[in-house]
């Protein structure tokens, strides 16, 4: 069960934030109990009964009022220092270290790249566990926000501006996230999956991602390859080792290895893939992939080809 909740932290920093949240929650609960208790008590105790005399006309009491000003002041002072402490723990400055991961947000998908290895992928981020990784975030169009609650703070992706933050996971597993800043009509389907792996698994994954897919040989896949290169597909997408090298849409070099399609709209299965290519606007209305008017035969061939891109 994957619950993308900051209450179920899976990294040191998410735990730090959760700890602060618990403290604030407890303080708030106490204050609320006191206030609600006083209100309800006075509502019951001092309700008017027939024949009540005019109550004592009490205009105020400076000492009391100063007391109930100073106490909240002390509480927020404590909260302020706790916040500062947590801020520094969660978000240490990057100190000119190059980022391990570069995140570029697009309407409505994510581009992830690893500058050191050169891996480029989309919507599904793989990280090795037990390592604090620095990532940079920017946007290719409007403001978005990278939010994987169990692993990291959220951070805005703003065009022409680079933000930095840290991400880590201390258990292998799948962690869900999403775009958290409204970025246009398909904001809901801009989901993130983070796959945290043991270092061995991660380097295997990385090796596979770096491999250039073999040229298709099976006839249907060959036909699919030709469709891809001759139809508008290649004017937006990249597949390593082929002439298709655009980055307007997600990199498809290893599309077959990903868990979902269209940033979370559906699971990655041959049927879904074909349905998606046939009519993206049906499943993600407003998205920037047009309806390509392909023949059914072309669709089948394309699907066969893309499924091979593991």
């Amino acid at each position: 069960m994957n619950i993308p909740s900051p209450l179920i932290p899976a990294s040191l920093q998410a735990r730090d934030i959760n700890f602060l949240f618990q403290i604030v929650l407890i303080i708030s609960a106490i204050i609320l109990l006191v206030v609600a208790g006083l209100v309800l008590y006075s509502a019951v105790r001092f309700r008017r009964r027939p024949g009540d005399p005019v109550p004592t006309q009490d205009f105020g009491n400076t000492k009391l009022e100063i007391t109930w000003t100073v106490i909240p002041l002390l509480i927020v002072t404590v909260m302020f220092f706790l916040s500062v402490r947590t801020m520094h723990a969660v978000d240490p400055p990057p100190l000119n270290r190059p980022p391990d991961i570069q995140v570029v947000a697009h309407q409505w998908w994510w581009e992830f790249s690893y500058p050191e290895s050169g891996v480029i992928t989309a919507n599904e981020l793989h990280i090795p566990i037990d390592k604090n990784l620095l990532f940079s975030v920017t946007s290719a169009d409007v403001v978005h926000d990278f939010w994987v609650p169990q692993l990291a703070r959220k951070i805005d992706a703003i065009p022409a501006r680079k933000n930095f933050a840290w991400i880590a996971a201390d258990q292998p597993g799948l962690y869900l996230g999403t775009c958290a800043e409204y970025c246009g009509v398909e904001h809901a389907w801009m989901r993130i999956r983070v796959v945290a792996q043991t270092p061995e698994e991660f380097s295997q994954w990385q090796k596979k991602q770096l491999a250039i897919p073999a040229k298709p040989t099976e006839p249907l896949a060959v036909k699919g390859y030709n469709v891809f290169m001759s139809r508008p597909c290649s004017s937006c997408h990249r597949i390593a080792g082929t002439p298709a090298d655009k980055d307007i849409g997600p990199d498809l070099t290893h599309i077959g290895s990903r868990q979902t399609l269209a940033a979370g709209v559906f699971d990655n299965s041959p049927g879904n893939l074909e349905a998606w290519i046939a009519d993206p606007q049906k499943f993600k209305p407003g998205c920037h992939m047009p309806d390509l008017q392909l023949e059914p035969a072309e669709l089948t061939a394309l699907t066969a080809y893309l499924e091979e891109l593991q």
Partner: protein, 562 residues
């Protein structure tokens, strides 16, 4: 009591005042009472529209991966919902009550500038209609109520909905500024003899401070709107970062206006609560000086907290320190008011009219909204929860559970004064209890949705994330109860105008000046304004054996605060 002046035979009703007969008398009016009522009616009309939009939102979200609304319609609807509720409901409700009651409470004949007053109302109404006209232009705006750049630019939203949004907000904004100036001048120049600033009713205090807030905050919005319009229509590049502008600049402008704006919406409500609770508890407000003074503190601080809406934008630690500190600080003058109100109830003899019920609920619900607000000032918590459903819960506790509950309290309190009829208490109680259940049922779970990872402004959510579906279903069902309660409210407003029990001049035994004239007040407000010797000008009439002067003297002698 003091109702000798009321003519025995003719029951007074706003429907029978000769000067208020016929549509023309309203459309051409410069009477602050008519304008105030028209403001309120306009706001209620837009409230109805905003509620329809909220209903559509909740239907769409009731089940995961619903296809009731298209993503495009959903975006238009939540944008219109937010924009409507803030600019066409919150603002005019508060301005309407201000222009109706400020002159009456200070014993004036009218506002200082009656024609400007009419201008303020009509320009608001025109702006509101223009915003809704955008539906007919092909598309309503869909960038959200704070319309972040560069999504609000032509490159991303090319249809004219966003332009309607700009113009509509410019117009209503101009109207708000005009009315703010009017309130300030009225309060500074037209107070009854003897009413110095230490004797001003707290509602007037709050609306006055509020008017200064409007005066300083709205120009920031208007500036940004003009810049955006230049970007969209004249290819200027203020907010186009790809070409050297700055997307973040919009956020600074918007929130420099936007944060004071939320105080603009709530301060007059603080004023209402400070009028309602004392009258129904039959005690003076506890700590008048503290209440007024802390409001001044809020006004200043509210200009130093805007970047707490931008903690996730990567502004850097020094900025976070300042704005986190100021945001926590502003919670103090806001929070202590709750204690002043409780202390006013304490030891009183409280009459639970519907108005008082709403004021009581306000105290608790506003506290919940305030506490989640403080949590957001703790920067790392904001880093998790901003732009999630936790925020939606937070601001509905402030705006609906706080602002709207407070305004409704004020409407039950003042409706007899405005119309000459009581609102039905029976319907009022049904309205109250259903609204309590509906409101808390709809919005309390939204805290949890946020904590379970649901971002705001999504037209749907994945079916396979545990718990989101049942929580959303609960919220949607409760929203139906909430809508029902508000329909009862609307019905009450209409039915009571015709059938409502006749109200006397001072039905609640209030002690501010608006109760010194007839219900409804005559067009000229007062036959004679008494000389004001203290904060409760009508107290002595009601309690000749306990004169205010003596109470005050005893209190001063006791050395306590005033």
């Amino acid at each position: 009591m003091n109702q000798m002046s009321q003519a025995q035979a003719v029951p007074r009703s706003i429907r029978t005042i000769p000067e208020y007969r016929g549509l023309l008398s309203w459309v051409s009016s410069v009477d602050h009472k008519q304008i105030g009522i028209m403001y309120l009616l306009g706001a209620l009309l837009f409230l109805l529209l905003g509620l329809v939009e909220a209903t559509l939102i909740r239907i769409q979200l009731a089940v995961p991966e619903n296809t009731f609304l298209s993503p495009d319609s959903y975006s238009q609807i939540f944008t219109m919902h937010g924009t409507t509720m803030i600019f066409l409901v919150g603002m005019p409700l508060m301005l309407g009550l201000s222009v109706y009651f400020v002159p009456l409470m200070i014993g004036a004949r009218d506002m200082a500038f009656p024609r400007l007053n009419a201008f303020g109302f009509w320009i608001f109404l025109f702006g509101g209609f223009l915003l809704y006209f955008s539906f007919m232009s092909g598309s309503a705006p869909l960038a959200g109520w704070f319309a972040y750049a560069p999504l609000n630019e032509k490159a991303y939203l090319f249809n004219s909905g966003q332009d309607y949004w700009v113009i509509a907000l410019l117009l209503t904004g101009a109207g708000s500024i005009a009315t703010a100036i009017n309130v300030i001048v009225t309060v500074f120049t037209l107070r009854a003899p003897g009413m110095n600033f230490r004797r001003l009713p707290l509602f007037v205090w709050m609306t006055t401070i509020n008017s200064f807030l409007i005066l300083f905050a709205l120009p920031a919005l208007n500036t940004a709107l003009v810049m955006l319009f230049a970007d969209r229509q004249l290819d200027a590049l203020f907010f186009v970062s790809a070409k050297g502008g700055s997307a973040l600049l919009w956020q600074h402008y918007f929130w420099f206006f936007g944060h004071p704006e939320v105080y603009i919406l709530i301060l007059p409500v603080f004023g209402i609560i400070s009028e309602v609770i004392p009258v129904f508890a039959r005690k003076p407000i506890y700590g008048y000086g503290f209440l007024a003074g802390s409001t001044v503190a809020i006004a200043f601080l509210s200009f130093a907290v805007w970047a707490h809406h931008m903690f996730a934008t990567g502004l850097g630690f020094p900025v976070y320190y300042v704005f986190a500190g100021a945001s926590m600080l502003i919670a103090v003058p806001t929070g202590i008011k709750i204690f002043n109100w409780i202390a006013t109830m304490w030891g009183g003899s409280i009459r639970f009219t519907t108005s008082m019920l709403f004021a009581t609920a306000f105290l608790i619900q506003f506290t919940i909204g305030g506490l989640s607000g403080v949590a957001f000032a703790a920067v790392p918590i904001d880093w998790q929860l901003t732009d999630s459903y936790f925020v939606v819960a937070h601001f509905h506790y402030v705006l609906l559970g706080g602002m709207l509950f407070g305004i409704i309290s004020g409407i039950y309190y003042w409706y007899p004064k405005m119309t000459g009829h009581f609102l039905s208490e029976k319907l009022g109680r049904a309205h109250f209890w259903l609204m309590i259940i509906g409101f808390n049922g709809t919005f309390f779970v939204m805290h949890l949705m946020g904590l379970f990872g649901m971002p705001r402004r999504v037209f749907t959510y994945p079916a396979d994330i545990p718990y989101l579906a049942p929580m959303n279903m609960l919220s949607s069902c409760s929203a139906a109860v909430l809508m029902l309660s508000l329909l009862i409210f609307f019905a009450n407003l209409i039915v009571s105008l015709y059938r409502g029990e006749q109200a006397s001049d001072n039905p609640w035994e209030g002690w501010t000046l608006e109760w010194a004239t007839s219900s409804p007040p005559p067009p000229h407000n007062f036959d004679k304004v008494p000389y004001i010797r203290n904060r409760r000008p009508l107290w002595d009439q009601l309690h000749p054996d306990l004169p205010e002067a003596r109470l005050e003297a005893e209190h001063e002698a006791g050395g306590a605060s005033r």
